[in-house]
């Protein structure tokens, strides 16, 4: 009998230790969600998250070497740093440095949008503040950050206060809502938030871009009818007027689910609204088009299909760049298509980088009319200059 018990114990012990062994074999390290920006002097800044801190690094040699990190938030807190929900960075007109991020709360899907600034070129950061005045333990996350032509800091995010209030009354409500706020005092405080739209998608990043007149436009996945998840376009009004939200894509992808796949937007000096977005009504497809709110986009082009994800777009004069991640059986490639006629035609896709491990969504940056791609990978941050 004793022998039987010993045999049983021997059989059991590898099973007990297997979990520990497996977790030891798993790759560890910070999540890859990161954002980068050039300041007015061409110095590159990068934010990501590690050990409960948003950390800031800079580079004077276009990303080849990075400085030691500086903590943006002195006191550690949980931070979302995944693909669609990553820390953001933007500069004010005098290189004021602004950082926002989403902070997970205790319950699933909850979060607070956080903000901090440095007015002395990263020497010191302000104590982080919560942007929204609503402090219910619900979703306020997927923050998007931009600075308008007057130096006003604009932040938009996904918010679930309305779905909670509506369904509590037994009424239906699809998705979440988009709210936004702004700061007129350089980030010392934010005005009470206002609702942009009801029934938006719950888990896709919001794209913000500056208009030629300095205003900030938003492009985001919205819900139409019975879970048709197309995109809406609007200008975020900060003058007391109501923002006019219009449907801007008409792919008719119906899904009661989480695409985790937000769009990209870049607006040319001529006002052309260059956009990229994802839908999987048939094959998963990344689309390019020029937004004509209320109507189908102009110059639509299927940029890439199977295995393509998380595109970004940029424009300078008549050059338009589109980059995306292409996954295959052996890892990822960073892909590029370029147009030199303001988006009427694009050249063939070309591979500009590859990585066998995990990668974050690519982000297009510009310096003196040249496009660079910020690509955070499990083997390190890379800044890749697009071929000229």
């Amino acid at each position: 009998m004793r022998r039987l018990l010993i045999t049983l114990l021997c059989l059991l012990s590898p099973a007990l230790f297997a979990h520990e062994g497996m977790s030891m074999n798993m790759p560890k390290g910070p999540e890859l969600g990161a954002s980068a920006a050039f300041d007015s002097h061409g110095r590159l800044y990068l934010v990501d998250a590690a050990n409960g801190h948003v950390r800031l690094r800079h580079s004077d040699d276009d990303g080849r070497t990075l400085s030691a990190p500086v903590d943006v938030n002195a006191i550690a807190e949980p931070i979302y740093a995944e693909g669609e929900n990553r820390p953001k960075i933007a500069f004010g007109p005098h290189d004021e440095l602004y950082v926002s991020w989403s902070q997970p709360r205790a319950k699933p899907w909850t979060g607070f949008v956080r903000f901090a600034r440095s007015l002395d070129r990263r020497e010191h950061f302000s104590k982080p503040l919560t942007v929204h005045h609503d402090h219910a333990e619900i979703t306020h996350r997927f923050d998007a950050l931009a600075v308008d032509g007057n130096g006003r800091i604009v932040i938009a995010w996904i918010d679930k206060r309305d779905v909670i209030a509506t369904t509590a009354q037994g009424k239906p409500y699809l998705g979440a809502a988009v709210y936004y706020s702004w700061s007129d005092d350089g980030g010392a405080s934010f005005v009470p938030e206002r609702k942009l739209v009801d029934q938006s998608c719950e888990c896709c990043r919001i794209a913000l871009a500056r208009l030629p007149d300095g205003g900030i436009a938003a492009f985001f996945r919205n819900i139409y009818g019975d879970n048709i998840r197309d995109h809406a376009y609007t200008v975020l009004r900060t003058d007391g007027q109501t923002s006019q939200v219009e449907r801007a894509t008409f792919s008719d992808w119906q899904i009661a689910g989480c695409p985790h796949h937000g769009p990209g937007l870049a607006i040319g000096s001529d006002g052309t609204r260059h956009a990229v977005w994802y839908e999987a009504k048939g094959k998963p497809t990344i689309w390019y088009g020029q937004l004509d709110p209320g109507h189908a986009p102009q110059h639509p082009l299927a940029i890439a299909t199977t295995g393509a994800s998380h595109a970004d777009v940029a424009v300078h004069e008549r050059t338009v760049w589109v980059v995306w991640n292409q996954v295959g059986a052996n890892g990822y490639t960073l892909m590029l298509r370029r147009s030199t006629d303001n988006g009427a035609h694009f050249d063939a896709p070309r591979e500009i980088a590859s990585n066998s491990g995990a990668v974050a969504s690519p982000q297009l940056l510009q310096k003196q009319g040249h496009a660079f791609v910020a690509w955070n990978t499990a083997t390190g941050f890379r800044l890749i200059e697009t071929p000229r």
Partner: protein
């Protein structure tokens, strides 16, 4: 001693259930896609950050209970197995802990997505049906009653 052995024997299944979440690596995907000997294998893909996934899993579990000999149901979360505690807690709260469960165990989740189904962009919930005749069906989003009927 006999009583001790009995207590131990009763304790064993509890251990097996509590640790039932298994990793899914890229190398293990082909085995998962092998056609079952009979009926259908239903791979229910879900994520912690997906509010639509819970009702979908409930509906698939109900379908499996209605056809226990034909349907082999397993859950696969696209979250990393490093989040084992949160995943197991959610599986228990969704009353899905009784089904075989896997969690992604690769640093690049999109690669497993691609290997499981190249026509899937990673949106959740996703259901992948593999039939004994080798045919497959993939559907994204919470399943409608009509879609549920088509699974088998």
């Amino acid at each position: 001693m006999k009583r001790l052995l009995l207590a131990f024997a009763l304790w064993l299944p509890a251990i097996a259930m509590a640790g039932s979440l298994q990793p899914l690596t890229a190398a293990e995907v082909p085995a998962l896609l092998q056609p079952p000997a009979r009926g259908e294998r239903i791979i229910a893909l879900w994520a912690l950050d997906c509010a639509y996934c819970e009702p979908n899993l409930e509906a698939l579990a109900a379908l499996q209970r209605a056809h226990p000999h034909e349907i082999e149901l397993l859950t696969v979360t696209t979250d990393s197995i490093e989040q084992r505690e949160a995943i197991e807690a959610r599986l228990r709260s969704m009353q899905m802990a009784g089904y075989p469960a896997r969690a992604y165990a690769e640093a690049s989740p999109e690669q497993i997505n691609f290997l499981l189904d190249p026509d899937w962009g990673g949106e959740t919930p996703r259901v992948l049906v593999i039939r004994a005749d080798g045919s497959r069906l993939g559907i994204s989003g919470a399943l409608t009653p009509e879609q549920l009927q088509k699974l088998r």
